[in-house]
């Protein structure tokens, strides 16, 4: 049974479970159960913070996110001003209002202005016991790798001191294996989306992805393995009017994708830091290499954020995804004041034009449901693509 309108989701129990984890976040049962065992939970602010170190320390890494829905950001506006991205303001407001009071630490990076200032105000106004900000170079040269490695080593040392626990090479290796397993499973999930008729929608995929950084990896992996078997044999598939790719700013609300998919477009891949950029590259340990070196190398050289130089690598990877997933059109959604991505728009426009791939640029706010004007613009984009095909 192929659903071309994508309004009847494949309601598998694992997807329902991930949905419940996201709905209850930050205080979901997986996190609270972990905490109840007397273990520590650390919040991280950006994908350039290596989760493996937190896992290796016996703690739970949780990505700090905002409300993921449209809401007033009075506190966020007051503390971060109105011109910082709504993601930063939303995250901070949740923190200020106590939603993350269970955190034992917050780890950020010098990744973008929004992220670094979110870290600054968090440290000043929210009482979390452990803080660390990593210098994250914007290049991937040998010197940059060495500098970032030193930051990761410093993070490890500070964690050890804070927790009174020595993180051994074996601890790191186990953590890498666990996180790589998550990445491998998510890769398999994406492989299913390469099919011309996919067993899962873009909205459902984002639901799964979002849960992946809101619960212990081992538990997530077990659930995802079951789900992959179910999806392999699923009688329900989706086709859609057009195969779409989503690029741009951080995004963690499946409702936005659902809104796009309700217009008939099927989101088959993405370049988001909550999705592909989160799982894309595994940690590869070369012979005799200290595990921490391999971790640092992976995080700095991963599928790049728009913050990195040169932008060409990001564009090349986007183009490769377009080919691999047979993408008909790309939707770029950029949160207002997300400057790194906004600066890339003219360059990305040119790349897409040269490749003859239609591109729709949307200005959004973090947590937007994608209703109203956005929906109308997506509808028009799909119609334009269809008219072009004829």
């Amino acid at each position: 049974m192929t659903d071309t309108t994508i309004i009847s989701p494949n309601n598998l129990p694992e997807i329902e479970y991930f949905h419940s984890i996201n709905r209850a976040f930050p205080g979901n049962s997986e996190i609270m159960d972990f905490k109840a065992q007397g273990k520590k939970v650390f919040g991280w602010l950006c994908t350039y913070v290596p989760e493996e170190l937190i896992v290796a320390a016996g703690a739970l890494p949780v990505r700090i996110t905002g409300y993921g829905r449209e809401t007033d950001l009075d506190d966020g506006n007051a503390y971060l001003y109105i011109n910082n991205c709504s993601f930063s303001r939303s995250c901070f407001q949740r923190g200020l209002r106590g939603d993350y009071s269970f955190l034992d630490g917050v780890v950020g990076g010098s990744t973008c202005d929004g992220a670094r200032r979110l870290f600054d105000v968090w440290r000043r106004y929210i009482n979390t016991p452990f803080y660390q900000v990593l210098t994250v170079p914007r290049k991937t040269t040998d010197d940059a790798q060495a500098l970032y490695l030193s930051q990761v080593i410093s993070f490890k040392q500070n964690l050890e001191e804070f927790l009174g626990f020595e993180i051994t090479e074996q601890n790191l290796l186990n953590a890498v294996e666990l996180c790589n397993e998550t990445r491998g499973l998510l890769k398999k999930l994406y492989e299913l989306r390469k099919r011309l008729e996919t067993p899962i929608t873009g909205a459902q995929t984002l639901e799964i992805l979002t849960a992946s950084f809101r619960m212990p990896k081992a538990s997530f992996n077990a659930k995802l393995k079951h789900l992959l078997v179910a999806l392999e044999n699923s009688p329900v598939t989706y086709k859609g009017r057009a195969r779409l790719m989503l690029v741009g700013s951080v995004m963690d609300n499946p409702e936005f994708l659902q809104s796009i998919e309700e217009t008939g477009g099927l989101v088959v891949t993405d370049e988001l830091c909550t999705s592909t950029r989160y799982w894309s590259d595994p940690v590869i340990i070369n012979n005799g290499e200290p595990v921490i070196n391999a971790i640092a190398h992976r995080y700095l050289s991963n599928f790049p954020c728009a913050r990195m130089y040169p932008s060409e690598e990001r564009f090349d990877r986007i183009m490769a995804l377009c080919r691999d997933f047979k993408v008909d059109g790309v939707i770029s959604q950029i949160i207002r004041y997300c400057v790194p991505y906004a600066h890339d728009v003219p360059l990305l426009n040119d790349k897409m034009k040269a490749a003859k791939i239609p591109l729709l640029n949307l200005d959004v706010e973090y947590g937007s449901s994608g209703s109203g004007q956005i929906r109308t613009r997506v509808q028009a984009f799909l119609e334009m693509m269809e008219a072009h095909k004829k």
Partner: protein, 418 residues
């Protein structure tokens, strides 16, 4: 397409202003200021016919290296500001930037710059140089300029924190940039010249600190918004004779004013701290308003107040790297905003006996505005009220002049009551 028309207009404006200069306590330094501006833009204007090699660069970029290599610098943000100040063609420039595809929330000087290049208002540089000091806008502006001007470029990755390892990283970045420039320009780095520039940088900092010490006096001998001219020295002429000449002249004028007791205490009713930069296009309006209310900016910890530092000319490249950490904007606005930085700002307010602070909330500058709450709370705790004024540095359509003026007037009246 390069017509250079707008650079000619800047040069002509400077010449006219110099000719019209009125006698006053800062007449000579003002003349030098406009002469320096004229020199900078004439050099840029004539670069092509003189066989010069032009390097466009973002703000807080180590232009010392360009001077040492005999490369003609083009300060991108400053040039857009001056176009706004002298030519008033912001709407045209910003509209051209929008046509390129730059969103309205991107810092207006960068939008305007892209617009200026597409309209041919500026000569296309031979290379584009940019860095992440100080924000995402500076970090991301270079690649588009490279494309618009069809030129190569070098991104200088400035590390976030100040420690030996990160300084070494920066030194290696600078070495790579020198190699890049040597290859592209055919000019060799003159290391002796760079050492001389570093030596003059020490002199430049010492003069700036002397001027700042004089500004601590009550009343201050400096003009209400004189600091805007102070910025130029390091922005356009770091470690250059032009900067030294200007700062020496200004220092001497301020000393004369103090020595001759040529001060009118009644003209200084409100000693202010200025945080961030006021709208450049409102300079004359604000001069009048400040005069009316006796408001004087006496300290600007983000822009003119340098920390004490001495650089080693025999380690020139390392000194250039170290200097980038003590630039006031870098010291206060880059790196983690920790207790030391907050204390530095509050101590500055106390040392200069300020009664109030004005934070120019330039909406295109996210990383600056995100500090407003922190600084406001810290200054309030010290009994110093702070006003945040929404604005744009070059775009008058963001907030009308009258609205900004009214806010300031209410603030000055509040200070009267305190």
């Amino acid at each position: 397409m390069t017509t250079n028309n707008k650079l000619s207009s800047i040069v002509q404006s400077c010449r006219v202003i110099r000719k019209m200069s009125q006698p006053g306590p800062y007449q000579k330094s003002d003349e030098l200021y406009y002469q320096n501006l004229s020199t900078y833009y004439t050099r840029l204007l004539k670069a092509r016919e003189n066989g010069g090699f032009i390097a466009a660069h973002t703000v807080f970029f180590p232009a010392e290296i360009l001077y040492a290599m005999d490369i003609v610098p083009m300060h991108t943000e400053m040039t857009t500001w001056l176009m706004a100040l002298f030519l008033g063609e912001q709407a045209e420039l910003l509209s051209a930037g929008a046509e390129v595809g730059l969103a309205a929330e991107i810092c207006s000087p960068h939008r305007g710059l892209a617009g200026a290049f597409t309209r041919g208002y500026l000569p296309h540089p031979d290379v584009m140089l940019w860095s992440n000091l100080i924000c995402d806008n500076t970090a991301k502006s270079g690649e588009l300029v490279m494309k618009l001007c069809n030129c190569p470029g070098f991104f200088l990755d400035h590390p976030f924190q100040h420690n030996n390892e990160e300084v070494s990283y920066l030194v290696n970045e600078l070495k790579s940039m020198v190699r890049f420039l040597e290859e592209k320009s055919g000019h060799k780095m003159n290391w002796d010249k760079l050492s001389e520039i570093v030596a003059r940088t020490n002199q430049q900092l010492a003069l700036t600190n002397e001027i700042n010490e004089l500004r601590k006096l009550v009343p201050s001998p400096f003009a209400a918004q004189g600091f805007l001219k102070l910025l130029l020295a390091d922005y356009l002429f770091p470690g250059q004779p032009e900067a030294i000449a200007y700062l020496q002249q200004l220092r001497d004028e301020l000393k004369d004013i103090v020595r001759e007791k040529n001060l009118n205490p009644s003209l200084e009713k409100h000693r202010l701290m200025t945080l961030f930069i006021p709208p450049i296009y409102m300079t004359s309006y604000l001069d009048r308003l400040y005069l009316k209310y006796g408001a004087v900016s006496v300290v600007e910890p983000m822009f003119t107040k340098w920390t004490k530092a001495e650089f080693n000319p025999s380690q020139a490249l390392k000194s250039v790297a170290e200097k980038s950490y003590v630039i006031p904007e870098s010291h206060v606005m880059y790196g983690p905003l920790n207790e030391n930085v907050i204390k530095y700002v509050v101590d500055s307010a106390r040392d200069y006996q300020v009664q109030g602070a004005v934070f120019w909330a330039f909406l295109g500058c996210r990383h600056a505005c995100a500090t407003i709450k922190i600084f406001k709370d810290a200054l309030n705790e010290a009994g110093i009220p702070m006003l945040a004024v929404d604005c744009d540095i070059v775009d008058p359509t963001v907030n009308p002049e009258e609205e900004i003026g009214e806010k300031l007037e209410r603030f000055f009246e509040l200070l009267d009551e305190l």
